[in-house]
């Protein structure tokens, strides 16, 4: 067997030189495209079809009903307003915080990066829930205000204020990280040049530094805005009864009003808005797709000189006013940056700290800080079969779907990077879509598609959509790593007679391991955090952990979810720690063995 295969490989290698084998690398794209088309595109189409459906057949009635409904428009308007405000806050705060990060000493930067990254990897559900403990009556803010004698605190939660705060907290890292990565690559020499030419620090920043960041700022604004359009969990937990956003409105139409066609029409309308935005903002979003930069987001060039004297003078005057304004702001730049970080860090870190403390509360209702401490809620969780069952169910389903995502996505990334050039951009766009399309739309479509079959309430019914949600992460991370990998390595291995499988095993897998692992982590979290898909696909026996937490919070605000959060965070920290310990052990063993070999 081994002799056979090696001779075959040998002759295969020889034969490859004179006769060029047809390039079949595109074949690796097949599973990816099949999954995306069958499990993503087809559900959206079935949603589209359903939105035109009535008992009599084709109709526009569903749309007419929605478009003429003031409730629907109010939801749309609320969604857009919340999205716009939170995008504005996130981008401004993210810009200030990212800039401060690039200017501070390394050690402080490391600490503050943790403040950004830990919330980034923490579930949206848990972060939203924590705000209840902070903002609700009996929570942190109200109790603190009571201490200074303010007994009727403003209503901060179960209304749009709460939704806004929660949304900003969740999207802030998403806004900050891309801006930071661009900023940390900017050479400060041109800012210094501007200063030496007479520009005060703020003026130099505005005219020289800011233009270099503008496309990153636009990209993160686009990403934040589009993401917030589909938010469901945060507004559902932090909003009031009359504050439904569009994603909630779709679900209400579907399950409370039992009007699937109307829900489908709403979903299609939201999808249209999202896709239109995607097209309009494409030139900013393109660089983050899994293809080589298309050069469409080069910084805008300064305008050609306008020659009429009057206009020129006017412009000079305007510039002068702007510059004096900037000078004034520039004098306050240190306080502004410090305030930005205080607000940002408070937003990012407080929920996690609160959750950690609250999990040790003795109370059955919301009081924060807790009056009595105990571990009864931990005991409660660990002895409750339903909760433990959900935990293992979620772990299993998220792991399974993440593994499938990584395998399919890994091959797909190879086809995307090494395969034919022409279809790269369309495929990359398709791969990104599960991230762009709000999960509520996708889940509804998927449910409509599979409802007639016996998959709702089964593990398979959950795993299929989760594979789709994990694919954008698996593909983009692996593709980025592949692009940095020298293709000559593979060619060299091939010229030495290695077959495709050996190239995969001995060259690609070892080099891509870190990317595959982080792809797995992101895909896992996408599935493990999900509430929306589970709302449709969970059955009475298969309730995922996030869904159980979500329902529990809706029922009563108790420390139980805080306990789960602490357990999960602890498990995550332990996993990270274990990885380090394992790596250290492996190294120690290796050193010991090599010592013995040497002596």
């Amino acid at each position: 067997m081994s002799v056979d295969s090696s001779t075959e490989r040998f002759t295969g290698g020889l034969a490859a030189r004179p006769r060029r084998r047809p390039d079949r690398r595109w074949l690796t794209l097949v599973p990816l495209l099949a999954v995306l088309i069958l499990l993503f595109v087809v559900p959206l189409f079935s949603l589209l079809i359903d939105s035109f459906r009535s008992e009599q057949g084709f109709t526009l009635e569903n749309y007419r009903e929605q478009v003429t409904s003031p409730v629907f428009w109010r939801a749309i308007r609320r969604t857009l307003v919340i999205a716009a405000i939170s995008t504005g806050i996130c981008v401004v705060l993210g810009y200030l915080m990212a800039y401060a990060l690039t200017r501070m000493p390394k050690r402080l930067r490391g600490v503050l990066m943790v403040v950004v990254l830990v919330p980034y990897f923490t579930s949206i559900l848990i972060r939203s829930y924590a705000w209840i403990a902070i903002l609700a009556p009996g929570g942190l803010v109200a109790r603190t205000l009571a201490l200074v004698g303010i007994d009727s605190p403003p209503d901060l939660v179960f209304n749009q204020t709460g939704v806004l705060i929660g949304t900003v907290q969740i999207l802030l890292p998403l806004a900050l990280l891309p801006i930071y990565s661009v900023m940390s690559g900017i050479d400060r020499a041109s800012v210094r040049a501007a200063q030496s030419l007479g520009a005060s620090p703020a003026v130099a920043h505005w005219h020289v530094y800011r233009p270099a960041t503008s496309s990153a700022v636009m990209a993160s604004a686009a990403l934040v805005f589009i993401s917030s359009l589909g938010f469901y969990v945060t507004p559902a937990l932090l909003g009031g009864p009359g504050d439904a956003l569009i994603a909630q409105s779709i679900l209400v139409q579907f399950s409370n009003l039992v009007d699937p066609a109307g829900a489908a029409a709403q979903a299609v309308l939201l999808l249209l808005i999202v896709l239109m935005l995607f097209v309009v903002l494409f030139r900013y979003l393109a660089p983050s797709l899994s293809v080589e930069s298309t050069g469409s987001a080069t910084p805008r060039r300064g305008r050609r000189a306008d020659t009429t004297e009057r206009r020129e003078n006017l412009r000079a005057l305007r510039a002068r006013i702007l510059d004096s304004g900037l000078d004034a702001v520039g004098r306050l730049r240190l306080p502004i940056l410090v305030c930005g970080w205080i607000v940002g860090a408070a937003l990012l870190a407080t929920p996690l700290v609160v959750v950690a403390i609250w999990s040790f509360s003795d109370a059955t209702y919301l009081t924060f800080p807790p009056e009595e401490y105990s571990t009864r809620w931990f005991a409660d969780y660990f002895t409750d079969e339903a909760w433990i069952g959900s935990t293992f169910l979620s772990l299993g389903i998220a792991s399974a779907s993440a593994v499938i995502s990584v395998v399919i996505g890994g091959f797909g990334a190879f086809g995307l990077v090494r395969g034919p050039k022409r279809p790269r951009l369309p495929i990359a766009i398709l791969v990104a879509m599960p991230l762009i399309v709000p999960p509520m739309i996708y889940s509804l479509g998927f449910f409509i598609l599979v409802a007639p079959h016996d998959v709702v309430g089964t593990n398979l019914g959950l795993i299929m959509p989760y594979v789709v949600l994990g694919l954008p992460f698996a593909v983009s991370i692996t593709a980025a790593a592949l692009r940095n990998l020298d293709q000559r390595l593979e060619n060299a291995a091939r010229s030495l007679g290695a077959g495709s499988l050996s190239v995969l095993r001995h060259v690609l897998l070892p080099a891509l391991r870190p990317a595959l692992i982080s792809g797995f982590v992101f895909a896992f979290l996408a599935a493990f955090d999900d509430v929306v898909v589970a709302t449709f696909m969970s059955g009475p026996t298969a309730v995922t952990l996030p869904l159980r937490m979500f329902q529990d919070i809706k029922l009563e605000v108790s420390p139980r979810t805080a306990v789960v959060a602490v357990v999960l965070l602890g498990a995550g920290a332990a996993a990270v720690l274990l990885r380090f310990v394992m790596a250290w052990l492996v190294r120690a063993v290796r050193v010991a063995l090599s010592r013995r070999g040497a002596s």
Binding site: Q195, L197, G198, P211
Partner: protein, 385 residues
């Protein structure tokens, strides 16, 4: 001068260079002493080159002048005014940065207009200034291009135009030609020199290229390890290096180890290690040397001549030619002797009389005034280039 500025409304501010005084200037980064106790005074309109190996502290010194670094101690005075507390944008110094630091999103004209905009000049006035500055660097036809549409040399000239357009009395340049190829570098040397003469500005020019420093500067300050080792005119520096470091860094030098002795006539002379003649040799700077100390004697290769062994007696060391490197106008001969290898650079004119081949026995000769002694302790670190 007024010819050059004809038709330009700035004749009233014909730039006269600023006067710069550095007084005991030091900069410490933690434990690293980047600049130590530098005191210099630079005259109006002078072209001063700062020459030193990588890490000598040249950029740090410039950054203190421009205000991007605060001195740990010491004072900087420009035209008598202490600028230590002045923000960079208020110093009015023209700076050409090492990698030009052009504004990529602005055209050439907009780049050059930037300092004028910052000075609130009216657009009409700006135009004539920009035009003039671009003419000076011969880039009139490139005004609407963006920096990435220009060659390296053109970018360099844009940086230059941007730095001079507002007529700064003081112009600082940090290795402005470092990124250019050799021919362009030599061309730009002439251009920069011409510009400086026309503008009358004081220029401080940082380089680690000794050729640049020697050809362009009125005076050169050689820096090593944060301190100025020698300040002098180019010929001073070349002919009378103050330390072994300067002798080695500026041009080439043969070094021979030896000891000083006090001769009966009260003059200090040097006995070279390994010299079998035991001759007590004169050096040019004997009066500055202490007796009975370890010294290095430095002799430039072009000051060494090779003579036939027959008929020589006295001080000349005898050795064997072990390498001949043809260099065009000259040929470098490496001679193996008891005092070490000696490099002799002979001009073709000399070689017409006697050509030496590898293996020939020769006597190595130099005149006493061509040799200089340096106390061994003076040499605190060897140059890296």
């Amino acid at each position: 001068m007024s010819e050059v500025l004809e038709g330009v409304q700035v004749v009233d501010q014909v730039a006269t260079g600023g006067e710069v005084e550095l007084d005991g200037l030091s900069k410490k980064y933690g434990t690293v002493q980047a600049v130590r106790e530098v005191s210099l005074s630079i005259r109006r309109g002078e072209f001063l080159a700062i020459l030193g190996p990588s890490g000598a502290g040249k950029t740090t010194l410039l950054n203190m002048l421009t205000g991007f670094e605060k001195p740990t101690s010491g004072a900087i005075r420009i035209d008598g005014r202490d600028v230590a507390r002045l923000a960079p944008h208020k110093r009015g110094i023209g700076v050409v940065f090492q990698h030009y630091a052009l504004f990529k999103h602005m055209t050439v004209a907009q780049n050059v207009a930037f300092p004028l905009r910052m000075r609130r000049m009216s657009p009409r006035e700006q135009r004539s200034h920009i035009q003039h500055a671009l003419e000076l660097v011969k880039l009139e036809d490139f005004a609407t291009r963006f920096p990435d549409q220009l060659s390296g040399g053109q970018q360099q000239r844009v940086a230059l135009a941007r730095a001079i357009v507002f007529r700064p009395p003081l112009l600082l340049m940090d290795e402005p030609l470092g990124a250019l190829d050799k021919r362009l570098r030599e061309h730009m040397r002439v251009e920069i020199k011409r510009l400086q003469r026309n503008l009358g500005a004081t220029v401080i020019y940082v380089t680690h290229d000794q050729g640049e420093a020697l050809t362009m500067a009125d005076r050169v300050a050689v820096m090593n390890d944060g301190a100025v080792e020698q300040l002098g005119t180019p010929d001073d520096l070349y002919e009378r290096p103050a330390s072994a470091f300067v002798a080695d860094f500026v041009g080439e030098t043969n070094f021979f180890q030896g000891r000083t002795v006090l001769d009966a006539d009260g003059r200090v002379r040097v006995v070279l290690d390994g010299d079998r003649t035991g001759h007590r040799r004169d050096v040019d700077n004997a009066e500055s040397l202490k007796a009975d100390c370890g010294v290095e004697v430095g002799v430039r290769p072009e000051q060494v001549s090779l003579l036939p062994v027959e008929g020589t007696d006295g001080p000349d060391v005898v050795g064997k030619v072990c390498e001949v490197l043809y260099e065009g106008a000259t040929a470098l001969h490496v001679v193996e002797t008891a005092i070490g290898n000696v490099n002799a650079r002979l001009s073709l004119k000399n070689l017409r009389e006697t050509r030496w081949a590898v293996g020939d026995q020769v006597a190595v000769h130099w005149d006493a005034h061509a040799a200089r002694g340096y106390h061994v302790a003076d040499r605190n670190s060897s140059p890296s280039s």
